[in-house]
Symmetry: C2
Subunit: 456 residues, 2 copies
């Protein structure tokens, strides 16, 4: 709408500056040394809600990092949109690979570079600025509730409790989330599913102390060699995961569904070039889009053990560690898979080592309906803003909370993401295109408008 575009045009630079202020706060939820910054970021989000038109906003403490809640009620009869997002970010390391400071945002070639630029401060903040656009132009059509958490990057372990305790306060008609990506500005898309997650840590103990690899080597099991063997055994020659029962509940898609999924524009050569890999890798019998969209995975996210310093040390270490996570698809459950993983690692441990497996956190996979009013409203909003209909896709990432909305609040979710797969989220030089940021702020009000109209 004209008034929205004009208001956005007049306030573009300020909207960018305000996002930069948020990005400067190192709200790393995984690392306890940033606890104070996470709290500071929560306060900043609360203030921005009030300044943008919320009648009410508050910091809600949890056992972990706080949740920021805010609301703008316009009409008891109007539908209510619950906006979910998160203000916490992934750790920034390895720092040496950043071309500019992770918490010192800059714009280069039309892209905002900073940790959290896309995931999720940039996308979350679009909703707060969209509220401002609608509020200041007196064109709000839905009631809006914000629930912005600070523990998404560490498993949202306290959000479920918060939902249980605040069912009334969170009453809404739909959950709207911008924490995913679309294909491109030329090909807007809407995610119709997300993978779940089971994140494990494995500790392998060999001898009770570090040993000299000459004196004991060859006669005492090396825990690093043992761990590598166990990890290698998790995939067969076709890159299928070998953990017994792992695929039992995996949904088999129809040829039509797979065809639709593979219809999305995708250039394998471009993909390989962007990553500088000689070849892609994955489960035999599936395309790259299927491997990331509808198939489960097992990836080592971190491994360490023995001497990792400068030079050489001939040690046969006492311990070896690995952080291993699995992405899950519909019908697999985080707890079941975590239990299978634990049993597999403990069962396959030779008598010469001890294996301890602990579960970090999990999230359930979700599939969102495409025949709902909310999905249609989102689809129409994107069509209006981009001038073409969005393509339905399956996202490889996980937003554990989406499954909880359904189970605890009985609410469906619309995943309207404006990021791009090459935004380097969780990596050095995370970026978010300035154009996508503004496009999101432009699109969101249309969602509220159409959702209100279609709900009548």
């Amino acid at each position: 709408m004209q008034v929205w575009n004009e208001y956005l045009e007049q306030n573009k630079q300020r909207f960018l500056n305000e996002l930069f202020d948020l990005l400067r706060i190192p709200s790393v939820s995984a690392d306890s040394q940033y606890k104070g910054d996470v709290a500071k970021c929560a306060e900043a989000v609360k203030q921005s809600m009030l300044q943008s038109g919320c009648d009410h906003a508050e910091i809600c403490p949890t056992e972990g990092h706080p949740i920021v809640y805010g609301e703008k009620m316009v009409d008891a009869n109007a539908p209510t949109v619950l906006v979910y997002g998160h203000y916490d970010v992934q750790p920034a390391d390895p720092l040496e690979l950043w071309t500019s400071g992770p918490f010192d945002p800059v714009v280069k070639d039309g892209k905002i570079y900073a940790r959290g630029a896309c995931d999720d401060k940039g996308q979350m903040f679009m909703h707060i600025k969209a509220l401002e656009v609608m509020a200041k132009t007196n064109s709000l059509s839905c009631n809006i509730k914000f629930m912005i958490e600070g523990e998404e990057e560490v498993g949202s372990s306290n959000l479920g409790i918060f939902l249980e305790k605040n069912k009334e306060k969170l009453k809404a008609d739909i959950v709207l989330v911008s924490d995913t990506s679309m294909i491109s500005m030329e090909h807007p898309s809407l995610e119709t599913g997300l993978r779940g997650l089971a994140y494990m840590e494995v500790e392998v103990t060999g001898p009770n102390r570090d040993l000299h690899s000459g004196v004991y080597g060859g006669a005492v099991q090396n825990p690093i060699n043992a761990l590598c063997k166990m990890i290698a055994s998790c995939h067969d020659e076709n890159n299928h995961i070998t953990i017994p029962g792992f695929y039992d509940k995996v949904e088999t898609l129809s040829d039509e569904q797979r065809k639709a999924l593979n219809a999305a524009p995708f250039d394998l050569q471009e993909y390989k070039t962007d990553l500088s890999v000689g070849d892609v890798w994955g489960e035999k019998g599936y395309t790259t889009l299927e491997r990331t969209g509808i198939r489960p995975t097992l990836d080592v996210n971190g491994i360490w053990g023995g001497y990792t310093g400068e030079g050489a040390k001939t040690v046969l270490p006492s311990k070896a560690f690995a952080k291993i996570s699995m992405r899950l698809v519909p019908h697999q459950t985080s707890d079941e898979i975590a239990a299978m993983f634990q049993q597999y690692f403990e069962k396959n441990a030779p008598a010469s080592v001890k294996v301890k497996v602990t579960a970090h956190h999990g999230g359930e996979p979700v599939v969102t309906p495409t025949d709902s009013i909310a999905y249609k409203a989102a689809s129409k909003a994107l069509s209006t803003a981009f001038g073409k209909d969005p393509i339905p896709t399956r996202g490889g990432g996980s937003i554990p909370i989406v499954a909880l909305f359904e189970s605890i609040l009985g609410l469906k979710t619309v995943l309207m993401g404006f990021g791009l797969d090459n935004d380097n989220i969780h990596s050095p030089n995370e970026k978010y295109d300035v154009a996508n940021y503004y496009k999101g702020i432009e699109t969101i009000p249309y969602f509220h408008k159409y959702f209100a109209e279609m709900s009548k």
Copy 2:
């Protein structure tokens, strides 16, 4: 001899204090931040040589850490013993596992705890104190030359050059080394062989940047998973090493030789209990003593990649690294094995990753003759000091320099070690029994005496 025992008895405490002064210097050769301490330690060794009776001692600079040379010439017609040892030590990490400071030596239950207590400051220093005992009691029977280096723990890369340049200065009849262990004080032993070493570093690169394991997981090869698979493939189900050609030159011992080797006192249950392992591990068809003595090995000494910090990070990392070393047995050569290893890792790398292999350093395996005058003199010296004949053993460790003595100086070596396998060398809480320290100082003069007599 009476006079030696009396002198030792009168100076015991000072001999211990002087060793403590050496142990307090953190002469870690692998870590450049300790360069100054390594130099300081060299100077301290030089001073102790002069104070103990050397006519001459000097610091010999190299491309790396300096070599300390000292000599005490008694008679041009007497045989000359070249004593080799090293004053550098392994890194002390992991520091948190030490019960007392690694460079703050203490005596607990009759054991000296400190990095280098056994390997090799404690054993090297026995020879300097043994010189003092003989010099102060006017009972020197051989000329003595000391060559104490500062790079043994990092591959002695500059020692070969030093030998080439100083053949005249280093002229001798035998090399005497105390840098190995014996079975026990009840079972003195003499090493008749040492394993060689090939130490490699592997770098596996997947995508050109760290990726989100949800967005890309399952479709892009994870370099950690790839590295684990390559490492796992290095051993077959019988724990034989699978690198093509690896065993081609491995010497096959006769049943008699194996029988003699296994005759050494060894208690498997005690061994397992000491290490708190449920079972030993190793190459099928060989005993523990054979696995460490006459068979080659492949151990991962260190591995790292991805996120290793607190909490969880769902990253698909760009790179993974491992330090891998192989212990070699007679007829295998470090360069050949290093080349086979490199080819194996590079050949087996899938197109989805890049593998870079670099060689850190190597050393050749050695077998020392048991029919030489020097071996007999050492055997008699141990019999005299311990009251029983020493058992010939094969050591699992490596002293690369021993092979160089033969190839460059044409000298045989006697490995008269006084350490114990459970001295935790290269590990936290390295120790050396006070009794072994004194026993070494008591034994060494007998070697000089018998070697001079037998050489006549």
